[in-house]
């Protein structure tokens, strides 16, 4: 498949091999092969229903897979309950709908996993949480509850929360789709800063300009398969597969929002 197109020197941090997933009969993911090297940023593009979200959820073991394997840092990850909890601590995921905990402040949202799942003391967990909120420009909102924050602020809290367990890979599932266009910029800026800081990221997105800017590699998904992958340069300027070309043409003519 097309994944041979890019060569990476470092051993992959996250590797999906032959990953298949079905909901009932239809195949949502069809033998996906995808690997992420350390510090690499990969963007998944494709229309809704192409399997981007499912791929991220399967990678985070939130959905059982039907075939294939997931390797994290060289070790095969099983969906067995106890191992899965440990694996999820090494992967951070941010959802489109934020899913912040409404009964906790921004600080408590971020500090919860370090305290409960990693067993840090409350003081240590809150120190880490404060640093992350500051990094995402939310130092002043530490004691605010989610419902008093804007969508963009909530999404940045969610990013801080996902980073709080110091994951090896950050998975982002169309995290700007539910946001007001004016709030999108803040969130994308936060992600650019993370990418610059060397965070390994797998990003499902409809923001093509952002993908072109931040990604080391773009994967175009259609019908649960990676149809084409390559550098942003290659995918956006000279796509080889006619399906990729058709998708990009549609995006350019109708705008990304119409694809949701």
């Amino acid at each position: 498949m097309a994944r041979k197109a890019t060569k990476r020197a470092a051993a992959p941090v996250l590797e999906l091999r032959g990953l298949s997933k079905r909901y009932g009969r239809p195949l949502v993911l069809d033998k996906i092969d995808l690997s992420l090297a350390e510090h690499e940023v990969v963007c998944l593009i494709g229309a809704s229903g192409s399997g981007k979200s499912t791929l991220l959820r399967c990678a985070d073991l939130l959905e059982p897979i039907d075939a294939g394997s997931i390797t994290l840092d060289g070790g095969t990850v099983s969906a067995d309950d106890r191992d899965a909890d440990a694996t999820r601590r090494q992967l951070g995921i941010v959802f489109q709908g934020f899913s912040l905990f409404p009964h906790l402040t921004a600080l408590e949202n971020v500090a919860l996993a370090p305290r409960v799942a990693l067993g840090l003391t409350t003081a240590a967990a809150e120190k880490r949480a404060r640093a992350l909120l500051k990094q995402l420009g939310l130092a002043a909102k530490a004691n605010a509850y989610p419902d008093s924050l804007s969508g963009g602020q909530q999404q940045r809290v969610a990013i801080a929360r996902a980073l709080a367990t110091e994951p090896k890979v950050l998975l982002l599932d169309e995290i700007t789709s539910a946001l007001d266009p004016v709030l999108v910029a803040d969130v994308l800026e936060a992600l650019r800063a993370l990418a610059k800081g060397g965070m390994t990221m797998l990003i499902a997105t409809h923001e093509m300009a952002f993908a072109a800017d931040v990604a080391d590699r773009i994967c175009y998904l259609e019908g649960g398969r990676i149809v084409e992958e390559g550098s942003p340069e290659k995918i956006f300027k000279a796509p080889r597969d006619p399906r990729t070309r058709a998708f990009l043409k549609r995006v350019r003519s109708v705008g990304a929002s119409a694809l949701r």
């Binding site: 999820r88 951070g92 934020f98 899913s99 799942a117 996902a162």
Partner: protein
């Protein structure tokens, strides 16, 4: 300005119309030929003041009963609710037991159960088993209301959107940790109004234990009624119950309204 004035006018109209109707009702009842009879049998001033201290004294038993019962019901109900929401197949027997428990104790008339446990079990004269009617009255109320309360808890737990548990699990929290730190704190907040509602029912049902011979407010009133052939002591009992339950009902309404407001304005 005009809005404030029209609101004031509205209040005035409401007060006047209520007063007029209340006066008319009072006059029509008072002028009916049978009113003196009713008044003598149910609302006699002398019997009212003579029975009030006795009935209030006996009401202490009702208070003891529902306070003790509530303290026991809150944790037991939660345990049953949790037993019912465990999905792990290894715990299926526990889940089945909890389901049968709630079905049974919600479905059987309270008075029947009080009768059977309060008279039947002590009659077995089993060594070490208490015979006090108060004890068995308490046990029965706890058994019945734990079933009701567990359903309230369960509805609360199920009302929390699954995305909350998913977000918690995605952070690496175990199923139990997600329940403990994310789902339950939100669920418990939501169940306060329906929980209080069940407790109003419980407070009224403490009168049922009178059939075991426990001299609580209702039983005391019955004794006084039989002594004087006058129903006023029972009206006194009703009044005492109302003094407790009406403020609680208002509190429930108030909390529920507040809940609705935050849920409409809140996010998830």
């Amino acid at each position: 300005m005009t809005a404030a004035r029209s609101a004031r006018k509205g209040t005035l109209v409401a007060v006047i119309s209520t007063l007029v109707v209340a006066t008319l009702v009072a006059i029509s009842i008072g002028s009916s030929p049978s009113w003196p009879l009713v008044q003598k049998a149910f609302f006699d001033g002398t019997y009212f003041s003579s029975s009030l201290p006795d009935v209030i004294g006996a009401f202490a038993i009702n208070i003891q009963l529902f306070v003790l019962a509530e303290i026991l019901i809150l944790p037991i109900g939660l345990l049953i609710a949790l037993a019912r929401s465990i999905t792990n197949p290894a715990f299926t027997p526990l889940r089945i037991f909890a389901t049968i428990y709630t079905d049974f104790f919600r479905g059987v008339p309270s008075i029947l159960l009080i009768y059977v446990l309060g008279f039947g079990v002590p009659a077995l004269r089993l060594p070490g088993v208490p015979k006090e009617p108060f004890f068995w009255a308490l046990v029965t109320l706890v058994l019945i209301y734990s079933a009701y309360v567990s359903e309230v808890y369960r509805a609360g737990i199920e009302s929390i959107h699954p995305s909350q548990e998913r977000a918690a699990r995605a952070l690496g929290l175990t199923r139990f940790q997600a329940l403990r730190y994310v789902v339950l704190p939100q669920a418990l907040r939501r169940v306060v109004p329906p929980l209080l509602n069940d407790f109003i029912g419980l407070q009224k049902d403490t009168a049922l234990v009178s059939i075991l011979g426990v001299v609580e407010a209702f039983k005391q009133a019955q004794i006084l009624k039989s002594a004087n052939f006058n129903f006023t002591p029972l009206m006194v009992t009703a009044l005492i119950f109302l003094v407790i339950t009406i403020p609680m009902t208002r509190l429930v309404d108030c909390l529920a309204a507040k809940d609705r407001a935050t849920q409409q304005g809140g996010t998830r």
